[in-house]
Symmetry: C2
Subunit: 317 residues, 2 copies
């Protein structure tokens, strides 16, 4: 029996170490992972994937922990994936968050994994999706995907969650203006965390107005705004209720299937892009089948777009 | 004469509006841009591309403006590309930065362009590179690429600049620890901005120690640390000197060609990934040549990796 097939059988039997090992194999791009993922796919599709994003300092990690605790109190199991590709610049709050996460990780029914920016561009998106699918097959009822940054990869990942939570905090006035630009479309539930601070009412009112004016046809989901103080646990029950209400909406309106399809398509595109990029990288290396293209670019005989077109022919793309 | 060929001729003759129009065409993915880029490539390769990155609030935009002013005072021309794909979450400092940028933009020899997260994942990286190449062909001596966020796309772009500046500020102690993780490798010059604040000496000392212990063989570049107060213009001359010293090093050591080649390869890979991702996206759409793959994934008959492999065969990849 191959390591992969042993791993997925242990994983399906509830072995945490098997899950952890398989995730490491995925992160390291080990060959065997592919076979296990294929088998596990048949057992996934049951979890509610909840994305959690927002500006730095808004308390996303604390909120993720509180959500997990609330789900555990209700007898549900939870996976948390912390995506932190921006680690080079993250601030000092990180340590405290990790300590809180550690408290949680004493619970065998909570599985926590942090993922950094390993590997090439595109590699991270593929790995995050694989990890979500592994935790899904592992039987977690809820998978919370928390992204620290707001780079494109992270936004893409959160966008394809079933329910996307956008976290902000009081006094972030300019930020709320900025939210309009890009994040309003992807938020299903908005949270004003640290709502015991000055200016919370104002921020709540601003967000509610934005949500009211969000375009959407008849029968579309109207995002809701929830006030929380994650450190104290205030508002977390209300947030859990909103997440459940959104999931019910997705199922009743038939939108859930569309979300699932959207995420699967995004997964396929990310995998293909990565494969092509890796193959092209090898071809352009010294001694690769298309290394002369590099010389021609340096001599300004061909531009990168032209070289890409030639390389596509060379690789039979 | 096609619009593209008229545009690049006007651009090479120094017409700012032609440059702006071509950049818009690139951002919007207009067909004609491709032809113009091909022609312009023959005229690019002269600019010194300077990447500028660092944590939010460290004053990167102000520093970019000061650098531009210093270069202008020395009779050099400057292009500034502000990459801000994280705009949904940027804070309140932005407005002031943009005002400073506007002051600068009264100067016809400074060309400033902000780029947001238009288009799909991968599209931004391609567009940024195209814009850099346009400004290069337009004859700018220095092209400063400032990235607001630290997502993978931004880090990739800065990584392939000729000289990469990493900006931090006093008191960012945890952050400097975090810098070790990912950014130390890509920084050629480190800046402690806001160096008139408490704790500046400590932050400088910490960074210098990190730089000292950075691994590097005989003859490798040793990154330097510069203290600045960008708002007052303090230290900007020293920073310009360091940037020049690094560029001289690149030329004398032969590393510049390696940097140029690295950037060109990255450009080709980004273009190919984007094209494949777009083609695959079309194939998976309802009515597309591979739409049945989506149904099979939903039925859990095939997993995303398997679907990607089938799609690759379908598209003759």
């Amino acid at each position: 029996m191959s390591e992969a097939s042993e791993l997925y059988q242990r994983l399906l039997a509830g072995d945490r170490r098997a899950a952890a090992r398989l995730i490491s194999m995925v992160e390291d791009g080990e060959e065997g992972a592919r076979e296990a993922l294929e088998e596990l796919h048949k057992h996934s599709g049951r979890a509610h994937i909840v994305g959690l994003t927002g500006s730095g300092g808004s308390g996303k990690s604390t909120l993720a922990c509180r959500l997990a605790q609330e789900y555990r109190a209700r007898g549900k199991t939870v996976g948390i994936v912390c995506v932190d590709p921006t680690s080079p610049f993250t601030g000092g709050a990180l340590l405290g968050d990790r300590v809180r996460m550690q408290e949680l990780s004493g619970d065998p029914e909570v599985f926590i994994r942090s993922m950094g920016s390993r590997g090439a561009l595109g590699g991270l998106a593929v790995a995050i999706n694989d990890v979500i699918n592994i935790l899904d097959a592992f039987g977690k009822d809820y998978i919370i995907v928390e992204t620290v940054g707001a780079g494109q990869v992270e936004i893409e990942v959160v966008k394809y969650a079933h329910t996307c939570i956008v976290v902000t905090m009081p006094g972030a006035g300019d930020e709320i203006q900025a939210i309009k630009a890009g994040i309003l479309e992807i938020g299903d539930v908005f949270v004003v965390n640290k709502a015991d601070r000055d200016g919370a009412m104002r921020t709540l009112a601003d967000l509610e107005m934005m949500v009211e004016t969000k375009p959407g046809g008849v029968g579309a989901w109207k995002p809701t705004v929830v006030a929380t103080v994650a450190l104290e646990g205030d508002g977390v029950e209300a947030l859990v209720a909103e997440i459940a209400r959104h999931y019910d909406f997705l199922k009743e309106s038939g939108t859930l299937t569309r979300k699932i399809v959207g995420r699967m398509k995004a997964e396929v595109l990310a995998i293909l892009s990565l494969q092509v990029s890796e193959a092209a990288g090898r071809a352009l290396e010294d001694g690769g089948v298309a290394s002369s293209l590099v010389d021609r670019m340096v001599e300004r005989d061909i531009d990168p777009h032209g070289a890409a077109a030639e390389l596509a022919r060379e690789l039979d793309l």
